[in-house]
C-alpha cells in the first residue's frame, strides 16, 4: 500500500518539486538578465541621445527631409530621441530573448529559433523602406527641378509620381523580403505600374491629343522661330 502511495503521489510530487528546483535557478537568471537588460537599455538610450546631439544629427535629418517625413506620420519626437527609443527597445528585446533562452524550455527555444532566423528579414525590410523614402525624395526633387528648368507645367505632379513610384517599389521589395504574399504583391505592382503607363498613354494620346499637339508645336516650332542669341557665359 505504501509502495502504491509512493508511486502515485509521492514520486510525482518529488519529481515535480525536483523539476521546479532545477528550473528555479534558470528563472532567477532569466529575471536578473531581464533587469540587467532594462538597465543597460536605459544607459544606451542616454548615450545615443547625447551622441546624436553632439553630432548634430537632428540638423542633418532635418536637411535630408527625415524630420518632415516623421512629422507627416505623426511622430513629433526629434530624430535623436527617436533613435534613443529605438535602441532602447532593441536592447530590451534582445535581453528579453536571452532571458527566455535562459529558461531552457524546449517549446520557447523552438519558437525563438524561428524568430531569430526571421529577424534579419525585418531589419532588411525596414532598411529598404527607409532607403526607398530617401532615394524617392531625392529623385523626386531632381525630377521637379529638371522639369521646371525644361519649362514643363505640372512639374510637381511628375515629381510626386517619381517619388511615389520609388517608395512603392521599395515597399514591394520590403514585403518580398518579409515573404508576405510574394507573388501577389509583385503581380499587383506590375499591374499597377503597367496600368499607370497605359492610363497615361491613353490620356496623352486620346484625351490630351490637342494639348499634346499644342505643347509640341509650342515647344519645337516656336522655339525654332525664336532662337536665343543671348550668351549666358
Amino acid at each position: 500500500m505504501k509502495n502504491l502511495i509512493d508511486r502515485i503521489i509521492t514520486e510525482p510530487l518529488r519529481d515535480f518539486f525536483q523539476r521546479i528546483l532545477e528550473f528555479l535557478p534558470n528563472l532567477f537568471s532569466s529575471i536578473i538578465i531581464l533587469i540587467l537588460g532594462l538597465f543597460l537599455a536605459w544607459i544606451i538610450r542616454l548615450i545615443i541621445v547625447k551622441m546624436a546631439k553632439l553630432l548634430r544629427l537632428d540638423r542633418l535629418f532635418s536637411k535630408i527631409g527625415l524630420t518632415g517625413a516623421l512629422e507627416k506620420i505623426g511622430l513629433r519626437e526629434t530624430p535623436s530621441k527617436l533613435f534613443g527609443r529605438i535602441f532602447y527597445w532593441l536592447t530590451v528585446i534582445l535581453f528579453f530573448i536571452i532571458s527566455l533562452y535562459t529558461l531552457k524550455v524546449p517549446a520557447i527555444e523552438g519558437f525563438l529559433e524561428k524568430f531569430l532566423l526571421y529577424l534579419p528579414n525585418i531589419f532588411i525590410a525596414a532598411l529598404l523602406v527607409v532607403l526607398g523614402y530617401l532615394i524617392g525624395n531625392f529623385l523626386g526633387r531632381t525630377a521637379l527641378i529638371t522639369a521646371v528648368n525644361a519649362g514643363i507645367e505640372g512639374s510637381a505632379l511628375i515629381s510626386k509620381g517619381v517619388k511615389t513610384l520609388i517608395v512603392l517599389l521599395s515597399f514591394v521589395m520590403a514585403l518580398e523580403q518579409l515573404g508576405i504574399g510574394q507573388d501577389t504583391v509583385i503581380a499587383a505592382f506590375i499591374i499597377l505600374f503597367g496600368g499607370l503607363i497605359l492610363a497615361l498613354s491613353l490620356a496623352f494620346g486620346l484625351g490630351g491629343k490637342d494639348i499634346a499637339r499644342d505643347y509640341l508645336e509650342k515647344k519645337f516650332k516656336k522655339e525654332a522661330e525664336k532662337k536665343d542669341e543671348l550668351k549666358h557665359i
Binding site: R141, N149, G151, G154, I233
Partner: protein, 448 residues
C-alpha cells in the same frame, strides 16, 4: 625665312607615372636642360587642331615682337586630343618676315605635353604651373586654344604688367555685347566685387597673366582632385589672387571670338558649374571677405573702346514663361531656405504682364545671398539648390533685357553698376547671417 626656331627646341612630353606624378620624364629632362625662362605662355587644349594654329602663331609673334630679349617658352598642355592637336602645335612655324617688319631671334622653346590628372582645364593649368615653377618663370600667361581673335598684342597686355609693373595677376577684360555673359553680369562680377572689394569686370574670362610667384602659390593648394581641376579654375585663380592680397590688374584685350560652346549645353548645369565655384570659395574665404566693405577700381591696361551694338534675338517670352513656372512649381522647395516675405514678393512680381515685368535688384541680391547661405549650410543637395536658381536667374535676365533693350553699351554698364552697388549695400546683412549660422545653427534667423 620660315620660323625662327629649329625642331630640336621642341619637346614632346609623355606621362610616365612611375617617375613623376605630373611631368613626363623627357619633359623633366628638357626642363633641366633649359634651366630657366623669363616668360611662359601656356595653351591648354583638347581637340583644337582647327583653331590652335592661329593661337600658337599669335603667341610666338607676340613673344618675338614684344619680348625679343627674353627667354620664353610656349607650353601646350593637352587633354588627350584625338584630332592631332599636339602634332599641329609641334609643327606650327611662324613666318615672321610676313608678320613683323623687324624682329629679333630670342631664346624660344616649345614644349608639348599631355597633362596628368582629372580631365579638365584645371589639370592642364596645373601642369603649366608646375613647369613655370620648375623653370623659375618670371611672368606667365594662359590663353585658350580655340581663340580666333587673339593677336600678338594679347601677349604683351597679359605679360607686361607683370614684368614691368610688378603685378601678380592680370585679368582679361573683353569687349562684349550687352547680352553676352549674363551669368557674369548678374552674379559672378557683382558678387566677386562685393565680396573681395576689387572691380574685376570679367573674373571668369579664360585668358590670364600671372607671376611665377603666384603660379607657385597656386601649386601649394590641394584642389587638384576637386571641381577646380574640372571646371572651376578661372574663378578659382581670380579669387585666390584677390583673397590672398596679390597685386591685381586687368587688361583690355578687345573682342573675344572663339569656337561656340556646345549650343545644347544645359543652362542649369552651366549655372551650377559657375555658381558652385563661387560659393565654394565663399566658404573658404569668409574670414577675408567679411572684413571688406565697398569696392575699388583696379588698374586697366590697354586701350578701352566700345563699338555699336548689333541687335540680337532674345527669346523673352521663353525666359518669362520658365520664370513663372519656376516660381509656381518650386515655391515649396524655395520655402525651405527663402523667407516667406521674399517668396510673396517673387509670386507678386511673377504675376506681372510682360510689358510691366520687372525683377528689382534688391530682390535679386537677397535671393543670391539666401542661396549662398543655403549652399553654405547645405540645407539640401547643393546641386539642387543651385539648379533651382535657374528660373529665377532667367527672370532677372528677362527683366534686364526689358530694361536695357534700347540702351547703349555705356548705359548698360551704368545699369550694372547699380546692381553691383545693391550687392555691396546688402553685404553686411549677408555677413551677419553667415556669422549667425557659424555661432548657432538652431536659433531663429534674421531676415535680409
Amino acid at each position: 625665312m620660315t620660323g625662327l626656331f629649329s625642331d630640336d627646341r621642341i619637346v614632346y612630353g609623355l606621362i610616365m607615372a612611375e617617375d613623376s606624378p605630373l611631368l613626363a620624364k623627357d619633359v623633366q629632362e628638357k626642363i633641366e636642360e633649359i634651366k630657366e625662362t623669363d616668360i611662359l605662355v601656356g595653351i591648354p587644349s583638347y581637340n583644337s587642331a582647327r583653331t590652335v594654329v592661329h593661337v600658337v602663331k599669335a603667341v610666338e609673334a607676340g613673344l618675338s615682337k614684344y619680348f625679343p630679349d627674353k627667354k620664353s617658352l610656349l607650353v601646350n598642355s593637352d587633354g588627350g586630343s584625338t584630332d592631332g592637336t599636339m602634332d599641329v602645335v609641334r609643327e606650327t612655324d611662324v613666318d615672321f618676315d610676313s608678320i613683323l617688319v623687324d624682329h629679333k631671334a630670342g631664346a624660344f622653346h616649345k614644349l608639348v605635353t599631355p597633362y596628368h590628372g582629372i580631365p579638365g582645364k584645371g589639370s592642364a593649368f596645373r601642369t603649366i604651373f608646375e613647369i613655370a615653377k620648375s623653370l623659375k618663370a618670371e611672368a606667365c600667361a594662359v590663353v585658350d586654344s580655340d581663340l580666333r581673335s587673339i593677336t600678338p598684342e594679347w601677349v604683351e597686355l597679359l605679360i607686361k604688367p607683370i614684368l614691368e609693373e610688378g603685378y601678380d595677376y592680370v585679368s582679361p577684360y573683353y569687349l562684349r555685347h550687352k547680352y553676352d555673359g549674363t551669368i557674369t553680369n548678374t552674379i559672378v562680377y557683382p558678387l566677386t566685387r562685393a565680396l573681395y572689394g576689387r572691380r574685376i569686370r570679367q573674373p571668369i574670362g579664360g585668358d590670364f597673366g600671372f607671376s611665377g610667384r603666384l603660379a607657385s602659390f597656386y601649386l601649394t593648394k590641394d584642389v587638384w582632385e576637386t571641381d577646380v581641376a574640372r571646371f572651376g579654375i578661372d574663378i578659382w585663380m581670380t579669387t585666390m589672387a584677390l583673397a590672398n592680397a596679390f597685386k591685381v590688374c586687368q587688361a583690355f584685350l578687345g573682342a573675344k571670338i572663339h569656337d561656340p560652346k556646345d549650343p545644347g549645353a544645359d543652362l542649369s548645369a552651366m549655372l551650377y558649374q559657375v555658381v558652385s565655384s563661387v560659393f565654394n570659395l565663399m566658404d573658404e574665404y569668409f574670414p577675408v571677405w567679411k572684413e571688406i566693405s565697398g569696392s575699388e577700381l583696379v588698374s586697366t591696361y590697354g586701350f578701352v573702346y566700345s563699338v555699336g551694338l548689333e541687335p540680337i534675338q532674345v527669346n523673352l517670352d521663353g525666359m518669362l514663361e520658365k520664370f513663372r513656372i519656376g516660381v509656381k512649381e518650386l515655391t515649396p522647395l524655395y520655402g525651405s531656405f527663402l523667407p516667406g516675405g521674399l517668396l510673396d514678393n517673387l509670386r507678386g512680381y511673377a504675376e506681372n504682364p510682360k510689358d510691366k515685368f520687372i525683377f528689382p535688384d534688391e530682390m535679386w541680391v537677397n535671393i543670391i545671398y539666401y542661396f549662398a547661405l543655403a549652399y553654405h549650410r547645405k540645407s539640401m543637395s547643393q546641386e539642387h539648390i543651385i539648379k533651382s536658381l535657374t528660373p529665377l536667374y532667367l527672370g532677372k535676365v528677362a527683366s534686364f533685357v526689358i530694361e536695357t533693350w534700347e540702351s547703349k553699351a555705356e548705359e548698360v554698364e551704368n545699369r550694372l553698376e547699380d546692381l553691383c552697388l545693391s550687392y555691396e549695400r546688402r553685404k553686411s546683412y549677408l555677413v551677419e547671417m553667415w556669422e549667425e549660422g557659424v555661432k548657432d545653427q538652431g536659433k531663429p534667423r534674421r531676415r535680409l
